[in-house]
Symmetry: C2
Subunit: 186 residues, 2 copies
């Protein structure tokens, strides 16, 4: 599922950048480029200004498993690595030409400590994120793959424009063959 809408908008971030002298940098990534790899520490909270990103990891059997998709105006990071300095296991791949705004720990802390608004927005973002994940676990435990597929189509049609069916299959927790079968039955 796409990350919840960012509560801190680009506009806000750019304002913070000016007023707090954060020195935020941007990064441009071409289509089909992996810009974060497993094993590399994730230094940033990324704000996706433009583009579309797939987060995946390598499963026990060596296959890529899509963990989530992230669209324009949402934020992503590798929580394990960014927050806890644990080994990063996910890959970030741009599924189209993508423009990122990079926010490191220091900058994030600075924003949080200087702005009540940002702090609250950020807390909201985290809570929202937890809810999205929670709902997803419920969906896995309570719905068939077909139902999950239909729900995803309805709630995030954009994914179907940007990602391959094989990406979507592993996101839904089935093989591409199964997804194909499911699509046939509809």
């Amino acid at each position: 599922m796409i990350n919840p809408n960012a509560y801190i908008t680009i506009k806000n971030l750019l304002e913070f950048n000016i007023s707090l002298k954060l020195g935020l940098t941007t990064k441009t990534v071409q289509k089909d480029t992996v810009f974060l790899e497993a094993g590399q520490h994730c230094h940033y909270f990324y704000y996706i200004v433009k583009g579309f990103v797939r987060v995946y990891y390598i499963g026990l059997d060596g296959n890529e498993i899509t963990h989530w998709f992230s669209a324009k105006d949402t934020m992503i990071t590798s929580p394990f690595s960014f927050f806890k300095h644990e080994e990063n296991i996910v890959y970030f791949e741009a599924l189209e030409d993508t423009e990122l705004l990079l926010i490191n720990t220091t900058q994030l802390d600075k924003i949080m400590s200087q702005s009540q608004y940002a702090e609250k927005a950020y807390r909201n973002l985290l809570a929202e994120f937890a809810m999205v994940l929670s709902r997803r676990i419920m969906s896995i435990h309570n719905e068939t793959a077909e139902r999950r597929y239909l729900n995803l189509m309805q709630s995030h049609p954009l994914i179907f424009q940007k990602a391959k069916l094989s990406h979507i299959a592993s996101y839904l927790g089935v093989t591409p063959q199964s997804l194909s079968r499911i699509r046939k039955n509809i």
Copy 2:
């Protein structure tokens, strides 16, 4: 999975309670009592002072599905209801005599706005929670039920002392019969 260790400890909370005049209340719940039901708004962030709680919801087929377990010194709430005022769909059930510390929105906001420390701890808690959920989704998509069972036994042995196998089965995403089969094969 049990909620991440609370970063705000009871001791902290009680100190906040005195210094910020929060007027926190406690609640005692007997074994096998449901103290929050689907449909009821969840007014509190609960700190579990003592005891053990199971969070579950009713699946499409009418069965109870355990969403998570929460032990002593962790916090729980129904995020959808507490944060977003959406319809609450989960039940909180005390699996043993349980003592709760109740924190409502106003009190939580007051703590956050008055203490940098609490605010940071709380942010940490949310991030940690998102990570636990994230890891759980990965585990569902990448590991067999048997593996998940063994992992749970290792990481949260307490659950096996407090909860029934049928609770654990639905938590792992299988039927009690399947769990029984899995246990037999070990």
